[in-house]
Amino acid sequence: MSMAMVEASAPPLSQAGWIRAWPIYPLLLFVLAFFVYPVAQILWLSLIDPDGHFTLANYVHAATTPVYLQTLGITFQIAVWTTLLAILAGYPVAYLLATSRVRTREALTLLVLMPFWTSFLVRTFAWMILLGRNGVVNHLLVSLGIVDAPLSLIFNFTGVMIGMVHSMMPLAVMAMLSVMERIDGNLVKAARTLGARGGNAFWRIYFRLSMPGIAAAGLLVFITALGFFIVPSLLGGRQQTMISQVIISVVQELLNWRFAGALSVMLLAASALVFYLYDRLLGMSTLSGSADDVADGRKSGVLARAGSAAGERLIAALGWMTDRAGALLETVMPPRADRPRRAWSRLVLGIVAGLIIAFLCLPSLFVIPVSFTDGSFIEFPPKGFSLRWYETYFTSPGWVAATTRSFVVALLTGFVATVLGTAAAIVLVRQRIMFRMAIITLVLAPLVLPRIIIAVALFYLYAQLNLVGTVAGLVIGHTILAVPYVVITVMAVLKTYDERLDHAAWTLGASKWQALRRITLPQIKGGLIAGFLFAFITSFDDLTIALFVTGGSTSTLPRQMWNDLLLQVNPTLAAVSTLILVFVTAFIVLAEILRRRAVAG
């Protein structure tokens, strides 16, 4: 109810609205200067022929050559499946986290985030070794007699799904968790007392109320998945080629900017269409995870109404089906009024979520024993025991410098992205500004576009600004990629923040700045930390921008790994990954202790 009041109290757009919206301008200027301007210059080429005349030839070629539309179709298909699976697998985990005690939740969150700390290059190779023909998993399956011959787990659609879902699930879990945490536990209890069995109570009430989280997770995962290229190229088979791979090849091998631009515009347009449909069906406000906005099922669009009606019917059907299954189970094990009920569903949830979390941690944990191998390959079981790869790491100035630089760049990126993103999020949530949808779309666009396009565009811009090969250039590039995550997560927490606290602070004599610093920011710290984390990771794991705008002379960690990876998968990578995992985990635990002390104080 308080939410409705906050919404209603938002002042209407007045003439001074564009002045009041000033905190959004730094981000807008940033995005315009370092994304829209350089990228538009590149994409513009797609409309110009080599003689400088306007042409649609590139678009005609892209649209009439079946392979490109097919690849685009595959890209969306892979992204859709990734989204569905990441949500399907992430939901029980998020649900378990949301319904656990605080301590348990924090410990589990650490595990869920674990994939983040292992470079995606290492993770992908870990999967190749784990799931290969002679890999650990197949070995286990065969020796246990579960299968007769090794399964084809990678180099096909399954492999792509494993790699991509694994990469995307932490994001999905965190996005869903932020909404689930705010569902009133009494609602499900109320449903039970009103005669709903477990199934109906879950689907019609809890699930229904968690849908904004699913929608936000879905959109973030989908958009991020569209731009993937490493996973499909290393774990995919003959038919798993994504449009980013094609665009990268057109840029790098064929140096055909015009055509790459046309393909990129096609990808952007298709994504915008999905975005539009999403807005019509679910409402963009779901992005920021406000349960109330989506709870309001009354939307004007025919599409929206048809969609939600079908959705409600589906949810009802799921509710009855679950209950039917439950009833069937009860005929086998009739419940007794004189014996305590066993929490079977909780047990099953624990097992399922536990397995999924194990899946998330597996590659990260896998590299630990592997890093102590005495052999010269990443293999399992590792050959002998030695610290030689750690020695290689610590004695190589390149590795150590790259690590330091990566941390510096990632921290700066996290800082800049959090400041810019938070300021913009405050305006986007609290003020009715014009082009709100367009601004959100714009901010999200860098996630869709293949990074190589952004990287090249930035190079041309940086050359004019003397930013090539600088840390500043890296930070700017990474901030463009990281800021969408900050905006979305901070918007989500701001929606839950009671603005009257600020009003109270103002009446108590605090200036707007003081109220923001001392009241608002401490209250939304959770969102800021999550946003910072996503930004940090985006930078920490980026290869493309680092490869391109530095020319290789300002090496970051993924860049250094890439060098090492070119000829072989060197165990140094496992050693580095282990070190980072240990370091980051220690850092988070420490930060958590500090945070708890701060909250307690």
Partner: protein, 378 residues
Amino acid sequence: MAAPASGAAREAITPDAPVKLSIRNVGKTYGGITALESASFDLRQGEFLTLLGPSGSGKTTLLMIVAGLVQPTRGEVWIDGKLATYTMPDKRDVGVVFQNYALFPHLTIRENIAFPLRMRRMPETRIAQEVARVLDIVQLPHVAARLPRELSGGQQQRIALARCMVYGPSIILMDEPLGALDRKLRDRMQLEIKELHARHAITVLYVTHDQEEAMAMSDRVCLMNQGQIEQIGTPRELYFKPSTPFVADFLGESNMLDGTLEKAGDVALMRGPHGLAVRARTHQVIAPGDAVKAVVRPESVRLLREGETADNEAAGDVTEAVFVGGVSRIFITLTQGVVISAKQLTDAAVPQPRPGERVRIGWNIDHGVVLKASEPAR
């Protein structure tokens, strides 16, 4: 609009009325912490029983056990003559009104009320009729298409009640349903709930920490403290015949005089500090020499005029006299050193005693109770 509970409904609760709910030695332990010691009572058809107590007294735990949302560690719960200790909440035929109403935010009022009917697979036409019927009862037929957050607190409260009543559960459980409302609205809702209860002969188990609310609404009150039932009885019984000092202290105001029992019997004699003698009723078995407390309600303490007498009399000086409108409160320090508070209706014709003034006070035997001083053994 709402009249106080009609006598007819009250009379319906006879000892012959069927027992709807029977709680037998129910207890709950979380880890090593005992939330509920051991509770037993019966709730009869049409009865309004309130679980009253300070926070942490176990009343909500007990309510949740009845609702089936918490499983007891020991004891039995019988609903409508059937054992239901561990029965699923949806199979119990109870209705719960939650503290914050727990209206489903994504469903309209109509759908909220229809929810229990849908769960019972009632045909659509019947559902529409039933929803309309209860909306009429709570006098909110015009809000059917709205969402919960578009209603005021009081309206939400009534809808929560309507949602509970619509499927005619055997018992309605209410967990501090008026806690979130402001004073005036709360008073009005008390009357409304009371009236609905009386008119529809609903069996209600109610939880509150507000003693006035409990007294005003209940047929019987179950006063709980530290996971245990202190006393069950009608509001009058609890007020005038408290069985423990806690009950006496918790309900209303009371003068509590410490002393030792001198003479047992129907009319007990207690000797207080400095020889202050108090004669009062007792309904406990107390041996002479035991430490006791005598409880006298301030409104029973009279300022005696010249020549007026009472069963118990004492003299003292007025320490303070407070005029609070219809009622005046006077604090008197007795010659024995004890402070007694007296409450009387303000009479414009009679001047208020001034501080320092010597007065005589008194009260009758029937207005006092002598209780064992020690807390009952746990």
